[in-house]
Symmetry: C2
Subunit: 368 residues, 2 copies
Amino acid sequence: MSTEREKARQPGTKGLLERMSREPAAWMAGDGPSAGIVLSSRVRLARNLQGVPFGARAKEEEKERVIAETRTASREAASLRGSVYVDVSSLSEIDRHLLVERYLISRDLAAESGSRGVIVGQDEGLSVLVNEEDHLRLQGIASGYQIEAAWRAVDRLDEELSRRLGYAYSDAWGFLTACPTNVGTGMRASVLVHLPALVLTKEIGRVLHGVSQVGLAVRGLHGEGSEVMGNFFQVSSQATLGLAEPEMVQNLIGVTRHLIENEEKAGEVLLRDARAEIEDKVFRSYGILRHCRVISSEEVMSLSSALRLGAQLDLVGSVKAGTLNRMLILTQPAHMQRTIRGGDGAISRDQKRAEIVRALLAPDPSTN
Amino acid sequence: MSTEREKARQPGTKGLLERMSREPAAWMAGDGPSAGIVLSSRVRLARNLQGVPFGARAKEEEKERVIAETRTASREAASLRGSVYVDVSSLSEIDRHLLVERYLISRDLAAESGSRGVIVGQDEGLSVLVNEEDHLRLQGIASGYQIEAAWRAVDRLDEELSRRLGYAYSDAWGFLTACPTNVGTGMRASVLVHLPALVLTKEIGRVLHGVSQVGLAVRGLHGEGSEVMGNFFQVSSQATLGLAEPEMVQNLIGVTRHLIENEEKAGEVLLRDARAEIEDKVFRSYGILRHCRVISSEEVMSLSSALRLGAQLDLVGSVKAGTLNRMLILTQPAHMQRTIRGGDGAISRDQKRAEIVRALLAPDPSTN
């Protein structure tokens, strides 16, 4: 494939990536229910096309065919109106990481070679990964504690695409997938939760053990194998075989409610037993973020976690979940690299990050 | 001595101690020359009375006589107009420490027993310690780099007292003192300097070695045996025998000029080679001090040192040396204990200290 040909194929990609590096997606607005604790709710469906080999066994021309058919189908899907197809194989490494940081593609898809891409819906709430492990991975993502809404949106998209694409399906097994653990509904539902009070009260181990006992998996911020950072945990449904979609969704809804309640209770305990120390932790984090001149993304993650706890506990009234989400997203490494490429070459990434963080928190919302 | 009798002897002591716990002394205003680097200039003269045994050999009634004679003489000394005599032996431990934190009495005088006290001049710039190691220790202290001014003030007081008190003096040796190292002029001149840039550039060892080579001693914030904290160093003249007062004063003036120049040069190097890192250090310190809810006096010392560097390098325009001196003085342990005793019993010392620090830095003087 020549780069020229690829570029011609990607109307809108440049504008989309530009906008992403400056603005968070709609689902990061922090306006959903319980958005202080649940950052996002996400449902993805694994689908494969009949008559095309799955995963690694697909040849390059077969992958191209999957892309072509999916793009055609997506143009007719109402849910994907205004979407942009991004050819991941022709992107720079920074831009592939940008999409990983947006939760639009997996780290695997970023690292692999061969024809692959992602169809990005208008507000990034819906997207379709093409030629990752499966031919298609449909994703719906919503702000806050809205698992059912995310599921309904991606379910509708699935419905629309299935009318135009022949899915590989067995009456006995359900949807067929590249990896047997996904066979069945092909669904994985997950929430990204922020549990600082449970970490501070050292209750987190017990609570997460309970979560894994009911068949859910707990991972770090960027899915499998990623570290737990900034007290963020990704909790997701695991085995799909045997459990119907509504049951999986209801299961995750219940567990998430349980996590929210436990986190809120731990927050009350902290305020009761160590109010001064918690306020100190929250306001020092605020003070550093508000005034730093050089800062790493890890430190932003950790300090903004304390500030998020402060917002959750009503200690810093004017700092909103949306501002903190914005901070989290826009200060990630690939976002930063893109921002700097666009301007100020003289200052370092950590300096630029400090500038962005300070601007997000100005003017001073704490009167004392 | 009954406590009742002692209290009756101390008109003005209560008011003086109250005021001290709320307000720094005049010499802490930070308005002297080079006050960003030289906090204070101090000269003390050791004097003893003829016909009374020195130091530990003096009996209790002889000590009482020294106090009585000195108080009488001080009432007639113009330099001590409006002064207050504080009977240290009848003070609580907190109040003795308060006087140590004010540089009015030594830690030795605070810890010893027996009749002893201090005559405190109207603005704390002049004072006379009675029955420490020597019968009298006259002290003059001035804001910033004003060694000569401090010397002239204490020299005038010495003149006034000598007219009324018979000093122990030998034509061969000069003023006789309890410890032979003080015999002669009985003088020690010192400056309290803040040298953070020399510490950061690791030049401090070399520079202080040079200082000790010319016969000066370097100590921590509270004199002999005290730790170096917050990048503060006390540099003082040592051997008094053989060197006349004007020479000692000129010697210290020259060395201090040398320290100021070296510190300023190191500051320029920092700004040239590591501007972002220095700004970050300064503004993070500002952010923490401005927003903390719990803080130890050691941390105030260390963070305010960074902020003082920032003020010196013109990075934080609106933070003044006087504000930082105030912070340093008012947040010391005994000052804090007195402040809390006067009010809010419900909050801890470290919480109250954070409150004071925040109030001193509000409103936000940094616009970005």
